[in-house]
Symmetry: C2
Subunit: 355 residues, 2 copies
């Protein structure tokens, strides 16, 4: 039995693998592979339409928001967002709470001024900054909802009157949120949405068209809106896997249903961590991510032993990110509770023997 704790690309539902595998041989009984159908056919249009409609339903988006499936990952959005929204003499406000936020800030500085409203760099991003002020004259406020590498998550939506922008790559669709409060949301698909190679952008149309710089056609959100995410050949198969994964999530009962299971999974793992002194969760208790659980064993030799034990027991990708060390268990939507159960059983067993 394999338990896949990958941080992304990550586990997807078994049903999705099965259907995607079949579609590569024979898509929808056409006798054609999903890889060889034209993107401007009714066959693919139906896939894209279902992906957009299902995502809209799962996020309960109002009609002011457009959904785009774009090439590239969140890293492309780090510069595409300020390129579309920030004039050179204007200022955008950013929260610096992890590796990805830092990268987003670096790219925004190419296009205008950046005010970092708060940072948790002082403690290696092991907490989410609080009690900061978002300047009301900034063009927009940008933050990362979940820090995949450091293992912190911001569940509450910040209060502000300026346009709100979030990188939700690693926790989108994992818990109920008022997505309509955001002016722009982006997320690489390869965690809770589907396969790597496509990026979701949800954008309120009325914030666009206000910068003075000329935009390359492929970087202008408006061109993609006008062309219904078909400005050029889309990443057909990646979009198809998103559609299957979104359909699966809907069948599970949607975001509120999966949130209940996600809460049980995260509670089980954090409770186990807190009950076993040999292990130590690294981030502030109130900011713990439900998607990426980061922990260490302070004794380096025991750390190696536990890692080996994980491998023997089919636990894949439990090693922490190279910049943080220790362990990381990613508990995305498709990870079954039984995998968390197997991990916590192994932890208890290990603590009993070595504790």
């Amino acid at each position: 039995m394999i338990h896949n704790f990958n941080s992304g690309p990550s586990i997807l539902p078994k049903e999705v693998f099965k259907e995607a595998s079949e579609a590569i041989i024979n898509f929808n009984n056409t006798g054609l592979s999903i890889l060889e159908i034209g993107h401007r056919t009714s066959l693919f249009q139906a896939v894209l339409d279902e992906a957009i409609a299902t995502l809209k339903e799962l996020m309960q988006l109002d009609d002011g928001h457009e959904i785009l499936f774009l090439h590239g990952g969140a890293s492309t959005q780090f510069f595409q967002v300020p390129m579309n929204l920030l004039n050179e003499n204007e200022t955008a406000a950013y929260l610096d709470c992890g590796t990805w936020g830092t990268k987003a800030i670096k790219e925004a500085k190419l296009y205008g001024n950046v005010e970092v409203v708060a940072s948790s760099k002082d403690k290696n991003y092991t907490y989410i900054p609080k009690n900061y002020t978002i300047p009301s004259n900034a063009k927009y406020f940008h933050y990362t909802t979940n820090n995949t590498i450091e293992g912190t998550e911001m569940l509450d939506i910040p209060q502000t009157n300026i346009p709100l922008i979030a990188d939700m790559s690693s926790d989108i669709l994992s818990h109920v949120m008022d997505f309509n409060r955001f002016d722009l949301i982006y997320a690489g698909a390869q965690k809770n949405i589907g396969a790597a190679g496509v990026n979701i952008v949800v954008v309120k149309k009325d914030i666009l068209g206000k910068v003075s710089r000329k935009l390359p056609t492929m970087m202008d959100y408006r061109s993609h809106i006008e062309n219904g995410s078909m400005l050029n050949t889309p990443p057909v198969f990646a979009v198809y896997v998103c559609m299957l994964t979104l359909r699966w999530l809907k069948q599970q009962g949607g975001v509120s249903a999966i949130e209940k299971i996600n809460n049980i999974k995260a509670k089980l793992l954090y409770d186990t961590l807190d009950s076993l002194p040999i292990f130590r969760a690294t981030v502030a208790k109130e900011d713990r991510s439900k998607m990426n659980v980061v922990f260490v064993i302070d004794d380096e030799n025991l750390e190696k032993e536990f890692l080996a034990s994980c491998k023997e027991n089919g636990m894949v990708a439990i090693k922490g990110h190279r910049s943080v060390g220790g362990f990381r268990a990613s508990l995305y939507n498709a990870l079954p509770l039984s995998s968390v159960q197997a991990l916590t059983d192994l932890m208890k067993d290990f603590a009993n023997k070595k504790g």
Copy 2:
């Protein structure tokens, strides 16, 4: 029996479909799907390494050329090329010989001056301009080797001393060329290389780093070279399908072997067209594309009848591009000769009945 004449995404080898389908359930006997493995694992690194090494071998590239697998399609390269190579006060030379070249010119104008050295717009791009002069003081010369929509192809490489850049999306790896003569080559993968959602860039390192503008990290070719096409999460599955397709091409005997078959396929179809007065090939004889064969029937009713007859006989995507009309048969590497045989048989049969 289905005959897939799609212009891209297009037919890929049956062996590729089979292996890709299996890898979605169980990749390399890992028990994991190719869709759920981490991109920074030795598992995926081996895929990327083989894709790069095989492409380098097939193209017989020297060590001065770097191979990148990037997000997006050729449309992204339309602006990424001038963004990386052209200063605002400098001039780049472009050949205007079809829809894609026109789009490339539009994007280049955002970054500097563009001199269009010649255009075949006067005759709806039904020929390749000749006898033009490439200015020796231009920053680079850009052209499209094959015009997917209009059905023309430029087999000879232009003589010039300035850096040479080509969009080879629809004929790369279809015939032997001295690829080392180019400073930058780009190609969307979804014709002769693999699946949609990834783009190949072959670049001579020494032309980079000479523009004064600041480049977003994701748009700077140098960042991708430094990170071995792993600056961010790559489109894992699309790269995997490229690797399988390139491996297949190598097994067929490489580019020179496939060129022989491509020549036979194209000759069979054009000879048939020329022998049947009811059909008419639309482009100048000397500029006919071996990849995309465009033709019409002058009688509109017969055109509809022939299209219906194609459908009945399992010919997929034989309808011409909406901007050109008529018919288009794309004869990419993976299309078997038997499909061209089936099409020409149908054409002869149709001409006998209606001619």
